[in-house]
């Protein structure tokens, strides 16, 4: 489960292999706007970048420290509010603060808050920590409608990023400029968070997660290890908040409430909390789902909920865990054994999912469409939602897909066992 990078310790210098993923990521971030130059695409990519930073910060708690927080949006939101205020002060008092350092200030503000809250919330891990994070989160979210001076009430706080000092001639009017600023902060934050996980404190965070008592008998106070992780996580969440403020130029209560905290838990868990890159996958996938799926269907959150619960029940390692399960077959050179069973599974699984989607969508349409509106389009087919046939077809597809998929399971699990078993004959 852990992000064990084998043999890195033996070579004291950074190898090219370690460096390569970062180089590729940086290049990727650089060329993405050339492939997708539209403002809409840039907006989505910015949102992805912000979610990635936030999810990585969240995973410093959940994945690396074993702390489940239901109120981590508070640190991102507070960072965002502070960034908005600073943005407005820059404009009002003509302060010589360039826009690119705003996320850092937001991060520092969130760090301060995390130090205060963490001083009592990190005494325990597990359920107690989760409940405190929930309570504190709700408290601050509720305060946001009362303390209008800081939170701006229901309208939130808004500002204008372009009134500050130009940064080397860049005024951040164009979306592309904001993209590169966000991407730069994404790289910086991701590298720093990765390096953090390789420090003594980062390693002890893992140790405390797995066995707090043993860690105590090795000279480390589990509580202080948790506290430092919590502060660092708050800092990077604050950076995400600052980036959010720069991108959207408005921060409201919605940025720090329970729904937001739940969202980041979902993103991180779907991506896979056990690996450093898990939250990155989760953030990219979630943003895509959010933008693409929400255009297609009104009940996308229902699908998301089902996906989430199914992930917790059947793939607690998330997507990253699922991918990394294949490292053993890969190392044994037996990955090819899985291709055919996977393909055989794909058809029935898609049929089953499509069937269920059909049932949900048709029922939803019948109940929620305007009276008299019986025409609906699903999977590029237009039909009458009140007809029996489409519903019947959907139900049959769902059941047939399920039945066929179950028939492939024995073959799949046999192939899985085979792919994970080393060839003993060859060794003898």
């Amino acid at each position: 489960m852990t992000d064990a990078t084998h043999n890195t310790a033996r070579s004291a210098s950074i190898t090219f292999g370690q460096f390569l993923p970062w180089l590729v990521s940086a290049l990727f971030l650089l060329v993405m706007p050339l492939i997708f130059p539209s403002n809409a695409a840039l907006t989505i990519m910015n949102q992805m970048a912000i979610t990635i930073v936030f999810a990585l910060a969240y995973n410093m708690l959940l994945g690396q420290g074993g702390m489940l927080s239901f109120g981590h949006a508070v640190y991102m939101g507070m960072g965002g509010f502070m960034a908005m205020h600073i943005m407005n002060w820059i404009e009002f008092h003509e302060l010589p603060i360039p826009l690119p350092v705003l996320p850092l200030l937001a991060g520092l503000f969130a760090l301060g808050l995390a130090m205060i809250i963490g001083s009592f919330s990190t005494r325990k891990a597990g359920t107690v920590f989760a409940m405190i994070s929930l309570g504190v989160g709700e408290l601050i979210a509720a305060c946001s409608v009362i303390i209008v001076a800081f939170f701006g009430g229901e309208e939130g706080v808004s500002g204008d990023r372009t009134y500050g000092l130009p940064f080397f001639g860049i005024e951040f009017i164009r979306q592309i400029e904001v993209y590169y600023l966000t991407a730069a902060w994404l790289m910086i934050s991701a590298v720093l968070m990765y390096l953090w996980s390789r420090t003594p404190l980062g390693r002890m965070a893992n140790a405390v997660r797995d066995n707090p008592e043993r860690a105590e008998f090795l000279g480390y106070s589990a509580r202080w290890v948790r506290f430092y992780s919590f502060c660092a996580s708050g800092f990077f969440a604050g950076i995400a908040g600052g980036l959010f403020a720069i991108n959207y130029e408005i921060v409201t209560e919605e940025n720090l409430n329970l729904a937001q905290s739940g969202m980041i838990l979902l993103v991180t868990f779907l991506g896979g909390a056990g690996f450093f890159f898990g939250p990155i996958i989760g953030a990219i996938l979630f943003t895509l789902l959010q933008t693409v799926l929400s255009l297609q269907t009104e009940i996308w959150q229902l699908y998301l909920g089902i996906l989430f619960v199914a992930t917790v029940m059947y793939f607690p390692g998330g997507l990253a865990g699922l991918l990394m399960m294949h490292t053993i077959p890969l190392r044994l050179g037996k990955l090819h054994l899985l291709f055919v069973p996977y393909l055989k599974m794909l058809g029935p699984a898609l049929l089953c999912v499509a069937g269920f989607v059909g049932v949900f969508e048709i029922v939803f349409h019948i109940r929620n469409a305007a009276p008299g509106d019986t025409e609906m389009t699903l999977f590029w087919i237009t039909f009458d939602s009140h007809d029996v046939l489409p519903l019947a077809v959907s139900i049959i597809a769902a059941l047939a897909g399920f039945w066929l998929a179950r028939r492939v399971v024995p073959e799949l699990s046999a192939a899985w066992t085979a792919a994970n078993t080393p060839d003993t004959e060859r060794l003898i």
Binding site: A9, T199, P200, G202, R203, R214, A232
Partner: protein
């Protein structure tokens, strides 16, 4: 603070009650530096409780524990550990999801002065890597270096536990039933390992296997119902009529 001529460990009038039941009923014991001391006694005598009192897992009801002359009673485990006392557990207590290498490295971090550092890279500290590999060599787990600790065999996990315990360089090592649940050959292996790695250190151990105790310990204390009824060399203890009575009594009870 750290008096050079003070005994490694001194217990004075140590008592511990859980509710109304007094489990440790006034224990006085002095263990000299470099001594190998075994605590034996029938089941339920309070050996593990005594261990937990010394190492900070429990807070004494009254009485004191002195480590190298310094009062450590009631201190948190991590503070006692930093003062030079390290322990193992009766039930294997390692970091199962981390590699064997990382298990040992984590136990070295504090003593190597890294503390809560977030400005060092553990992979780039040559001293850390070398010290870790040296310990892996000592406990014969070099071949298992990069495996998750959870997949090791029971005996290997016990060896790793001992490695973790002594890695931090503590001068007082406390082992809680290090050979529990082991086969004869495994026991022999672990005993030799203990003898090697605790060379020049103070060792306090709880043990059931009498051959291990008599083979390893310089002195033995017998704990019965929360009190030490005898302390002395293996020969003295073996000859002590009270010990024979306590042990035979317990053995007879166990047979019925």
């Amino acid at each position: 603070m750290n008096a050079p001529d003070a005994p490694a460990l001194e217990l004075a009038g140590l008592r511990k009650s859980f509710g109304k039941t007094e489990i440790i009923r006034g224990v006085d014991l002095t263990i000299a530096r470099g001594e190998r001391h075994a605590i034996i006694g029938p089941n339920g005598a309070g050996k593990s409780t005594l261990f937990n009192l010394i190492t900070g897992r429990y807070v004494p009801t009254s009485g004191s524990v002195y480590l190298n002359g310094q009062d450590v009673s009631g201190l948190a485990p991590y503070k006692i550990n930093r003062l030079g006392l390290s322990r193992s557990f009766q039930i294997t207590n390692i970091f199962p999801r981390m590699t064997v290498f990382e298990n040992v490295r984590c136990s070295l971090l504090w003593s190597k002065g890294y503390r809560y550092s977030f400005w060092h890279m553990v992979g780039r500290s040559r001293d850390l890597t070398e010290a870790t590999d040296a310990i892996l060599e000592q406990i014969n787990l070099t071949a298992r270096r990069d495996l998750p600790a959870g997949v090791l065999s029971y005996a290997e996990q016990r060896a790793l536990e001992i490695g973790i315990t002594m890695a931090g360089g503590a001068n007082v090592i406390m082992l809680d039933e290090p050979t529990a649940g082991m086969s004869h050959s495994e026991t022999e292996y672990i005993v030799n390992l203990i003898r090697d790695v605790t060379e020049g250190k103070t060792l306090v151990m709880v043990e059931h296997d009498m051959s291990v105790v008599f083979g390893l310990a310089d002195r033995i204390s017998v704990l019965v119902y929360g009190e030490i009824i005898a302390t002395g060399t293996p020969e003295e203890v073996r000859a002590d009529p009270r010990v024979q009575e306590a042990y035979l009594g317990a053995a007879l009870e166990a047979e019925h």
